[in-house]
Protein backbone atom coordinates (compact mmCIF):
# COMPACT_ATOMS: atom_id res chain seq x y z
CA UNK A 1 0.00 0.00 0.00
CA UNK A 2 1.30 3.45 -0.88
CA UNK A 3 1.94 5.86 1.96
CA UNK A 4 1.65 9.63 1.75
CA UNK A 5 5.26 10.07 0.65
CA UNK A 6 4.73 7.61 -2.13
CA UNK A 7 1.61 9.10 -3.68
CA UNK A 8 0.75 7.78 -7.11
CA UNK A 9 0.56 10.42 -9.84
CA UNK A 10 -1.96 8.94 -12.28
CA UNK A 11 -0.80 11.07 -15.20
CA UNK A 12 2.73 9.69 -14.87
CA UNK A 13 1.63 6.07 -15.24
CA UNK A 14 1.80 4.15 -18.49
CA UNK A 15 -1.56 3.23 -20.04
CA UNK A 16 -1.28 -0.30 -18.74
CA UNK A 17 -0.36 0.78 -15.21
CA UNK A 18 -3.04 3.45 -15.22
CA UNK A 19 -5.75 0.94 -16.11
CA UNK A 20 -4.44 -1.38 -13.40
CA UNK A 21 -4.50 1.52 -10.93
CA UNK A 22 -8.05 2.37 -12.02
CA UNK A 23 -9.06 -1.21 -11.24
CA UNK A 24 -7.68 -0.67 -7.72
CA UNK A 25 -9.37 2.72 -7.41
CA UNK A 26 -12.70 1.31 -8.55
CA UNK A 27 -12.32 -1.50 -6.03
CA UNK A 28 -11.71 1.11 -3.34
CA UNK A 29 -14.61 3.28 -4.52
CA UNK A 30 -12.44 6.32 -5.26
CA UNK A 31 -14.67 8.39 -7.52
CA UNK A 32 -12.39 11.39 -8.01
CA UNK A 33 -9.46 9.17 -8.96
CA UNK A 34 -11.62 7.30 -11.48
CA UNK A 35 -12.79 10.55 -13.03
CA UNK A 36 -9.18 11.71 -13.23
CA UNK A 37 -8.11 8.41 -14.81
CA UNK A 38 -10.89 8.63 -17.42
CA UNK A 39 -9.88 12.17 -18.32
CA UNK A 40 -6.22 11.18 -18.66
CA UNK A 41 -7.09 8.29 -20.99
CA UNK A 42 -9.30 10.59 -23.05
CA UNK A 43 -6.43 13.08 -23.32
CA UNK A 44 -4.20 10.24 -24.49
CA UNK A 45 -6.64 9.59 -27.31
CA UNK A 46 -8.37 6.48 -26.01
CA UNK A 47 -11.82 6.10 -27.58
CA UNK A 48 -14.55 6.46 -24.92
CA UNK A 49 -15.85 2.93 -25.56
CA UNK A 50 -12.39 1.47 -24.97
CA UNK A 51 -12.09 3.32 -21.66
CA UNK A 52 -15.53 2.16 -20.66
CA UNK A 53 -15.00 -1.50 -21.40
CA UNK A 54 -11.33 -1.92 -20.52
CA UNK A 55 -10.93 0.38 -17.52
CA UNK A 56 -14.38 0.69 -15.96
CA UNK A 57 -16.32 -2.46 -16.85
CA UNK A 58 -13.14 -4.51 -16.46
CA UNK A 59 -12.66 -3.10 -12.96
CA UNK A 60 -16.29 -3.58 -12.02
CA UNK A 61 -16.08 -7.21 -13.09
CA UNK A 62 -13.49 -7.79 -10.36
CA UNK A 63 -15.76 -6.03 -7.88
CA UNK A 64 -18.70 -8.17 -9.02
CA UNK A 65 -16.71 -11.39 -8.78
CA UNK A 66 -15.53 -10.58 -5.27
CA UNK A 67 -19.07 -9.69 -4.23
CA UNK A 68 -20.32 -13.01 -5.59
CA UNK A 69 -17.54 -14.82 -3.71
CA UNK A 70 -18.30 -13.09 -0.42
CA UNK A 71 -15.08 -11.07 -0.35
CA UNK A 72 -16.80 -7.71 -0.86
CA UNK A 73 -20.13 -6.66 0.60
CA UNK A 74 -22.91 -4.34 -0.47
CA UNK A 75 -21.42 -1.10 0.93
CA UNK A 76 -18.15 -1.63 -0.93
CA UNK A 77 -19.98 -2.52 -4.15
CA UNK A 78 -22.04 0.66 -3.84
CA UNK A 79 -18.93 2.76 -3.41
CA UNK A 80 -17.33 1.10 -6.43
CA UNK A 81 -20.50 1.67 -8.42
CA UNK A 82 -20.48 5.31 -7.38
CA UNK A 83 -16.92 5.63 -8.65
CA UNK A 84 -17.84 3.96 -11.93
CA UNK A 85 -20.84 6.24 -12.25
CA UNK A 86 -18.47 9.18 -12.00
CA UNK A 87 -16.45 7.83 -14.91
CA UNK A 88 -19.57 6.99 -16.89
CA UNK A 89 -20.81 10.54 -16.42
CA UNK A 90 -17.82 11.78 -18.37
CA UNK A 91 -18.00 9.08 -21.04
CA UNK A 92 -21.73 8.86 -21.68
CA UNK A 93 -22.10 12.03 -23.76
CA UNK A 94 -19.03 11.03 -25.76
CA UNK A 95 -20.15 7.48 -26.47
CA UNK A 96 -23.02 8.51 -28.73
CA UNK A 97 -20.75 10.85 -30.70
CA UNK A 98 -18.07 8.24 -31.24
CA UNK A 99 -20.16 5.42 -32.63
CA UNK A 100 -20.02 3.00 -29.74
CA UNK A 101 -21.76 -0.30 -30.59
CA UNK A 102 -25.44 -0.52 -29.68
CA UNK A 103 -26.35 -3.84 -28.20
CA UNK A 104 -30.07 -3.32 -27.73
CA UNK A 105 -32.55 -1.46 -25.60
CA UNK A 106 -33.76 -2.40 -22.13
CA UNK A 107 -36.70 -1.11 -20.14
CA UNK A 108 -36.09 -1.76 -16.47
CA UNK A 109 -37.94 -1.03 -13.24
CA UNK A 110 -38.72 -2.18 -9.74
CA UNK A 111 -42.17 -3.71 -9.47
CA UNK A 112 -45.29 -2.24 -7.89
CA UNK A 113 -45.20 -2.07 -4.10
CA UNK A 114 -41.42 -2.16 -3.98
CA UNK A 115 -39.18 0.86 -3.56
CA UNK A 116 -35.81 -0.89 -3.54
CA UNK A 117 -33.59 0.11 -6.41
CA UNK A 118 -29.98 -0.57 -5.50
CA UNK A 119 -29.76 -3.80 -7.50
CA UNK A 120 -31.75 -2.37 -10.36
CA UNK A 121 -29.48 0.67 -10.55
CA UNK A 122 -26.40 -1.54 -10.63
CA UNK A 123 -27.91 -3.55 -13.48
CA UNK A 124 -28.80 -0.35 -15.36
CA UNK A 125 -25.27 0.94 -15.01
CA UNK A 126 -23.61 -2.31 -16.04
CA UNK A 127 -25.97 -2.71 -18.99
CA UNK A 128 -25.09 0.80 -20.16
CA UNK A 129 -21.46 -0.09 -19.67
CA UNK A 130 -21.97 -3.06 -21.98
CA UNK A 131 -23.45 -0.87 -24.70
CA UNK A 132 -27.16 -1.32 -24.03
CA UNK A 133 -29.49 1.63 -24.04
CA UNK A 134 -31.40 1.61 -20.77
CA UNK A 135 -34.74 3.22 -20.00
CA UNK A 136 -35.08 3.17 -16.22
CA UNK A 137 -38.65 3.40 -14.98
CA UNK A 138 -37.58 3.74 -11.35
CA UNK A 139 -39.51 2.12 -8.50
CA UNK A 140 -43.04 0.98 -7.70
CA UNK A 141 -44.10 0.30 -11.29
CA UNK A 142 -47.57 -0.98 -12.16
CA UNK A 143 -48.01 -3.29 -15.12
CA UNK A 144 -49.35 -0.50 -17.35
CA UNK A 145 -46.16 1.49 -16.97
CA UNK A 146 -44.01 -1.44 -18.10
CA UNK A 147 -46.22 -2.16 -21.09
CA UNK A 148 -46.41 1.48 -22.18
CA UNK A 149 -42.65 1.87 -21.96
CA UNK A 150 -41.94 -1.35 -23.86
CA UNK A 151 -44.10 -0.18 -26.73
CA UNK A 152 -43.02 3.45 -26.69
CA UNK A 153 -39.32 2.67 -26.48
CA UNK A 154 -39.41 -0.25 -28.92
CA UNK A 155 -37.34 -2.13 -26.39
CA UNK A 156 -35.71 -5.53 -26.80
CA UNK A 157 -35.52 -6.42 -23.14
CA UNK A 158 -37.73 -6.02 -20.09
CA UNK A 159 -35.94 -6.11 -16.75
CA UNK A 160 -37.90 -6.39 -13.51
CA UNK A 161 -36.52 -6.19 -10.01
CA UNK A 162 -37.95 -6.89 -6.55
CA UNK A 163 -36.36 -7.12 -3.13
CA UNK A 164 -39.38 -8.32 -1.19
CA UNK A 165 -41.00 -11.73 -1.17
CA UNK A 166 -44.29 -9.88 -0.98
CA UNK A 167 -43.68 -7.97 -4.20
CA UNK A 168 -41.85 -10.48 -6.39
CA UNK A 169 -45.08 -12.26 -7.44
CA UNK A 170 -46.02 -9.04 -9.24
CA UNK A 171 -43.52 -9.97 -11.93
CA UNK A 172 -45.90 -12.73 -12.95
CA UNK A 173 -48.72 -10.20 -13.20
CA UNK A 174 -46.67 -8.27 -15.74
CA UNK A 175 -45.67 -11.34 -17.72
CA UNK A 176 -49.25 -12.64 -17.74
CA UNK A 177 -50.44 -9.27 -19.04
CA UNK A 178 -47.86 -9.49 -21.82
CA UNK A 179 -49.14 -12.96 -22.70
CA UNK A 180 -52.73 -11.73 -22.74
CA UNK A 181 -51.75 -9.00 -25.16
CA UNK A 182 -49.84 -11.47 -27.30
CA UNK A 183 -46.57 -9.59 -26.90
CA UNK A 184 -44.71 -11.83 -24.47
CA UNK A 185 -42.43 -13.34 -27.09
CA UNK A 186 -41.60 -9.95 -28.56
CA UNK A 187 -39.32 -9.24 -25.60
CA UNK A 188 -36.56 -10.84 -23.61
CA UNK A 189 -37.75 -10.83 -20.00
CA UNK A 190 -35.05 -10.84 -17.32
CA UNK A 191 -35.84 -10.79 -13.59
CA UNK A 192 -33.68 -10.30 -10.53
CA UNK A 193 -33.64 -9.44 -6.85
CA UNK A 194 -32.39 -10.96 -3.62
CA UNK A 195 -35.30 -13.30 -2.84
CA UNK A 196 -35.62 -14.68 -6.37
CA UNK A 197 -34.05 -17.78 -7.82
CA UNK A 198 -33.95 -19.64 -11.12
CA UNK A 199 -36.95 -21.77 -10.22
CA UNK A 200 -39.04 -18.67 -9.56
CA UNK A 201 -37.92 -17.12 -12.84
CA UNK A 202 -38.99 -20.23 -14.74
CA UNK A 203 -42.27 -20.56 -12.84
CA UNK A 204 -43.44 -17.05 -13.72
CA UNK A 205 -42.44 -17.37 -17.36
CA UNK A 206 -39.40 -15.10 -17.47
CA UNK A 207 -36.61 -15.88 -19.91
CA UNK A 208 -34.01 -15.83 -17.18
CA UNK A 209 -33.31 -15.03 -13.56
CA UNK A 210 -30.12 -13.00 -13.18
CA UNK A 211 -28.25 -13.44 -9.93
CA UNK A 212 -26.34 -10.17 -10.19
CA UNK A 213 -25.58 -7.29 -12.54
CA UNK A 214 -22.74 -9.07 -14.32
CA UNK A 215 -24.94 -12.11 -14.97
CA UNK A 216 -27.68 -9.79 -16.23
CA UNK A 217 -25.29 -8.30 -18.78
CA UNK A 218 -24.04 -11.69 -19.99
CA UNK A 219 -27.56 -13.11 -20.14
CA UNK A 220 -28.83 -10.09 -22.06
CA UNK A 221 -25.98 -10.40 -24.56
CA UNK A 222 -26.70 -14.10 -25.11
CA UNK A 223 -30.42 -13.59 -25.61
CA UNK A 224 -29.95 -10.63 -27.93
CA UNK A 225 -27.46 -12.62 -30.03
CA UNK A 226 -29.90 -15.56 -30.12
CA UNK A 227 -32.73 -13.25 -31.15
CA UNK A 228 -30.65 -11.78 -33.94
CA UNK A 229 -29.70 -15.25 -35.12
CA UNK A 230 -33.36 -16.29 -35.15
CA UNK A 231 -34.32 -13.19 -37.12
CA UNK A 232 -31.48 -13.79 -39.58
CA UNK A 233 -32.53 -17.42 -39.91
CA UNK A 234 -36.14 -16.57 -40.67
CA UNK A 235 -35.34 -13.73 -43.07
Amino acid sequence: MADEDDEIILSELSDEDLVAQMFDDLYDGLKEEIEEGVNILLERGWPPYKILTEALVGGMKIVGDDFRDGILFVPEVLLAAGAMKGGMGILKPLLAETGAPRMGKMVIGTVKGDIHDIGKNLVSMMMEGAGFEVVDLGINNPVEKYLEALAAEEADILGMSALLTTTMPYMKVVIDAMKEQGIRDDYIVLVGGAPLNEEFGRAIGADAYCRDAAVAVETAKQFVARKHNQMAGSA
Partner: protein, 210 residues
Protein backbone atom coordinates in the same frame (compact mmCIF):
# COMPACT_ATOMS: atom_id res chain seq x y z
CA UNK B 1 -36.95 -18.34 32.72
CA UNK B 2 -34.79 -15.25 32.89
CA UNK B 3 -34.91 -12.99 29.87
CA UNK B 4 -31.68 -13.50 27.93
CA UNK B 5 -29.63 -10.56 26.71
CA UNK B 6 -30.26 -9.04 23.29
CA UNK B 7 -26.67 -9.83 22.41
CA UNK B 8 -27.20 -13.54 23.04
CA UNK B 9 -30.53 -13.52 21.26
CA UNK B 10 -28.92 -11.83 18.28
CA UNK B 11 -25.88 -14.05 17.90
CA UNK B 12 -26.60 -17.41 19.49
CA UNK B 13 -30.33 -17.59 20.12
CA UNK B 14 -31.77 -19.42 23.08
CA UNK B 15 -31.65 -23.10 23.98
CA UNK B 16 -34.89 -24.70 25.15
CA UNK B 17 -35.24 -25.11 28.90
CA UNK B 18 -37.92 -26.76 31.01
CA UNK B 19 -39.85 -29.93 30.55
CA UNK B 20 -42.73 -28.65 28.48
CA UNK B 21 -44.63 -30.72 25.96
CA UNK B 22 -44.99 -27.87 23.46
CA UNK B 23 -41.96 -26.23 21.90
CA UNK B 24 -42.14 -22.77 20.40
CA UNK B 25 -39.27 -22.35 17.96
CA UNK B 26 -38.92 -18.63 17.40
CA UNK B 27 -36.79 -15.83 16.03
CA UNK B 28 -34.57 -14.40 18.79
CA UNK B 29 -36.13 -11.00 18.08
CA UNK B 30 -39.41 -12.31 19.56
CA UNK B 31 -37.97 -13.88 22.70
CA UNK B 32 -38.93 -11.15 25.16
CA UNK B 33 -42.49 -10.97 23.89
CA UNK B 34 -42.98 -14.74 23.83
CA UNK B 35 -41.49 -15.20 27.30
CA UNK B 36 -43.79 -12.44 28.53
CA UNK B 37 -46.81 -14.21 27.02
CA UNK B 38 -45.72 -17.54 28.53
CA UNK B 39 -45.43 -15.91 31.98
CA UNK B 40 -48.62 -13.91 31.58
CA UNK B 41 -50.67 -16.96 30.64
CA UNK B 42 -48.98 -19.43 32.98
CA UNK B 43 -48.08 -21.72 30.11
CA UNK B 44 -45.76 -24.00 32.07
CA UNK B 45 -46.12 -26.67 29.40
CA UNK B 46 -44.56 -24.41 26.75
CA UNK B 47 -40.80 -24.22 26.18
CA UNK B 48 -39.13 -21.55 24.08
CA UNK B 49 -36.19 -22.06 21.77
CA UNK B 50 -34.84 -19.22 19.65
CA UNK B 51 -32.71 -19.11 16.54
CA UNK B 52 -30.25 -16.20 16.34
CA UNK B 53 -32.14 -13.03 15.51
CA UNK B 54 -29.40 -11.88 13.14
CA UNK B 55 -30.74 -14.43 10.64
CA UNK B 56 -33.22 -11.62 9.94
CA UNK B 57 -30.43 -10.12 7.81
CA UNK B 58 -29.89 -13.42 5.95
CA UNK B 59 -33.39 -14.76 5.30
CA UNK B 60 -32.08 -17.51 3.03
CA UNK B 61 -30.48 -19.10 6.10
CA UNK B 62 -33.62 -19.17 8.26
CA UNK B 63 -35.36 -22.27 6.90
CA UNK B 64 -32.21 -24.46 6.98
CA UNK B 65 -31.50 -23.30 10.55
CA UNK B 66 -35.10 -24.01 11.56
CA UNK B 67 -34.94 -27.44 9.99
CA UNK B 68 -31.77 -28.30 11.94
CA UNK B 69 -33.43 -27.13 15.15
CA UNK B 70 -36.53 -29.23 14.41
CA UNK B 71 -34.34 -32.27 13.78
CA UNK B 72 -32.69 -31.75 17.14
CA UNK B 73 -35.91 -31.09 19.07
CA UNK B 74 -36.84 -34.28 20.86
CA UNK B 75 -39.56 -35.27 23.27
CA UNK B 76 -42.12 -32.63 22.38
CA UNK B 77 -45.72 -33.48 21.56
CA UNK B 78 -45.96 -30.47 19.32
CA UNK B 79 -43.74 -27.75 17.87
CA UNK B 80 -44.91 -24.31 16.78
CA UNK B 81 -42.75 -22.16 14.53
CA UNK B 82 -42.96 -18.54 15.69
CA UNK B 83 -41.89 -17.03 12.42
CA UNK B 84 -43.83 -15.39 9.63
CA UNK B 85 -42.45 -15.79 6.10
CA UNK B 86 -39.65 -13.36 7.05
CA UNK B 87 -38.22 -13.05 3.56
CA UNK B 88 -37.80 -16.78 3.06
CA UNK B 89 -39.98 -16.77 -0.04
CA UNK B 90 -42.22 -19.55 1.23
CA UNK B 91 -39.37 -21.78 2.43
CA UNK B 92 -40.64 -21.75 6.04
CA UNK B 93 -44.18 -22.54 4.94
CA UNK B 94 -42.85 -25.43 2.89
CA UNK B 95 -40.85 -26.67 5.88
CA UNK B 96 -43.94 -26.51 8.09
CA UNK B 97 -45.99 -28.35 5.49
CA UNK B 98 -43.41 -31.15 5.33
CA UNK B 99 -43.13 -31.41 9.10
CA UNK B 100 -46.84 -30.99 9.80
CA UNK B 101 -46.41 -27.99 12.08
CA UNK B 102 -47.97 -24.54 12.30
CA UNK B 103 -46.40 -21.11 11.89
CA UNK B 104 -47.51 -17.47 12.06
CA UNK B 105 -49.39 -16.07 9.08
CA UNK B 106 -48.12 -13.05 7.19
CA UNK B 107 -45.00 -11.72 5.52
CA UNK B 108 -42.97 -10.77 8.63
CA UNK B 109 -43.11 -9.76 12.28
CA UNK B 110 -44.05 -6.16 11.46
CA UNK B 111 -47.23 -7.46 9.89
CA UNK B 112 -48.29 -9.69 12.78
CA UNK B 113 -47.41 -7.11 15.42
CA UNK B 114 -49.42 -4.50 13.55
CA UNK B 115 -52.19 -7.01 12.85
CA UNK B 116 -52.08 -8.65 9.47
CA UNK B 117 -55.30 -7.14 8.15
CA UNK B 118 -54.41 -3.61 9.27
CA UNK B 119 -50.88 -3.96 7.98
CA UNK B 120 -52.00 -5.03 4.53
CA UNK B 121 -54.68 -2.37 4.41
CA UNK B 122 -52.15 0.35 5.29
CA UNK B 123 -49.91 -0.57 2.33
CA UNK B 124 -47.07 1.60 3.56
CA UNK B 125 -44.50 0.77 0.93
CA UNK B 126 -42.29 3.71 1.87
CA UNK B 127 -42.16 2.84 5.58
CA UNK B 128 -39.13 1.32 7.28
CA UNK B 129 -40.28 -0.64 10.30
CA UNK B 130 -38.79 -1.07 13.72
CA UNK B 131 -40.06 -3.23 16.57
CA UNK B 132 -38.94 -2.99 20.20
CA UNK B 133 -36.15 -5.44 19.48
CA UNK B 134 -35.01 -3.70 16.31
CA UNK B 135 -35.21 -0.30 17.98
CA UNK B 136 -32.86 -1.57 20.70
CA UNK B 137 -30.61 -3.29 18.17
CA UNK B 138 -30.71 -0.71 15.39
CA UNK B 139 -26.93 -0.46 15.07
CA UNK B 140 -26.46 -4.22 14.95
CA UNK B 141 -29.24 -4.93 12.47
CA UNK B 142 -29.29 -1.81 10.31
CA UNK B 143 -26.56 0.76 10.73
CA UNK B 144 -23.44 -1.40 10.79
CA UNK B 145 -24.48 -4.18 8.35
CA UNK B 146 -25.26 -1.51 5.74
CA UNK B 147 -21.83 0.04 6.31
CA UNK B 148 -23.34 3.35 7.41
CA UNK B 149 -20.92 3.54 10.34
CA UNK B 150 -18.05 3.57 7.84
CA UNK B 151 -19.75 5.24 4.89
CA UNK B 152 -22.59 7.52 6.03
CA UNK B 153 -22.67 8.95 2.51
CA UNK B 154 -24.45 5.76 1.40
CA UNK B 155 -27.54 6.66 3.44
CA UNK B 156 -29.35 8.26 0.53
CA UNK B 157 -28.71 5.24 -1.68
CA UNK B 158 -30.25 2.90 0.86
CA UNK B 159 -33.04 5.04 2.23
CA UNK B 160 -33.68 7.71 -0.37
CA UNK B 161 -36.95 6.09 -1.44
CA UNK B 162 -38.27 5.71 2.10
CA UNK B 163 -40.37 8.39 3.74
CA UNK B 164 -40.70 7.39 7.36
CA UNK B 165 -39.67 5.05 10.12
CA UNK B 166 -42.68 3.39 11.70
CA UNK B 167 -41.88 2.15 15.17
CA UNK B 168 -44.31 -0.63 16.03
CA UNK B 169 -44.08 -0.56 19.81
CA UNK B 170 -44.75 -3.67 21.83
CA UNK B 171 -44.31 -1.81 25.11
CA UNK B 172 -44.72 1.70 26.43
CA UNK B 173 -41.13 2.67 26.92
CA UNK B 174 -40.33 6.35 26.63
CA UNK B 175 -36.57 5.80 26.42
CA UNK B 176 -36.95 3.23 23.66
CA UNK B 177 -39.29 5.53 21.76
CA UNK B 178 -36.63 8.23 21.88
CA UNK B 179 -34.08 5.72 20.67
CA UNK B 180 -36.32 4.81 17.74
CA UNK B 181 -36.92 8.48 17.01
CA UNK B 182 -33.18 9.08 16.99
CA UNK B 183 -32.70 6.19 14.58
CA UNK B 184 -35.25 7.74 12.22
CA UNK B 185 -33.33 11.01 12.40
CA UNK B 186 -30.08 9.21 11.59
CA UNK B 187 -31.76 7.77 8.49
CA UNK B 188 -33.08 11.20 7.57
CA UNK B 189 -36.68 9.96 7.76
CA UNK B 190 -39.86 11.11 9.47
CA UNK B 191 -40.90 9.21 12.57
CA UNK B 192 -44.16 7.59 13.56
CA UNK B 193 -44.85 5.44 16.61
CA UNK B 194 -47.72 2.96 16.68
CA UNK B 195 -48.42 1.00 19.82
CA UNK B 196 -49.24 -2.56 18.77
CA UNK B 197 -48.70 -4.58 21.91
CA UNK B 198 -48.25 -8.21 20.91
CA UNK B 199 -50.65 -7.90 17.97
CA UNK B 200 -51.46 -11.20 16.25
CA UNK B 201 -48.57 -12.88 18.07
CA UNK B 202 -50.71 -13.34 21.18
CA UNK B 203 -53.49 -15.16 19.34
CA UNK B 204 -51.01 -17.28 17.39
CA UNK B 205 -49.33 -18.42 20.59
CA UNK B 206 -52.66 -19.11 22.27
CA UNK B 207 -53.41 -21.54 19.48
CA UNK B 208 -49.94 -23.06 19.81
CA UNK B 209 -50.28 -23.48 23.57
CA UNK B 210 -53.82 -24.87 23.51
Amino acid sequence: METPSDRDLTRTGLAPAGGGRVLVLACGALAREILALIRLNGWTHVDLQCLPAILHNHPERIAPAAERALDAAAGYERVFLAYADCGTGGALAELCRRRGIEMIAGPHCYAFFDGLAAFEAAGEVTAFYLTDFLARQFDTFVWRPLGLDRHPELRELYFGNYEKVVYLAQTDDAALTEQARASAARLGLAFERRFTGYGDLAAALERAAA
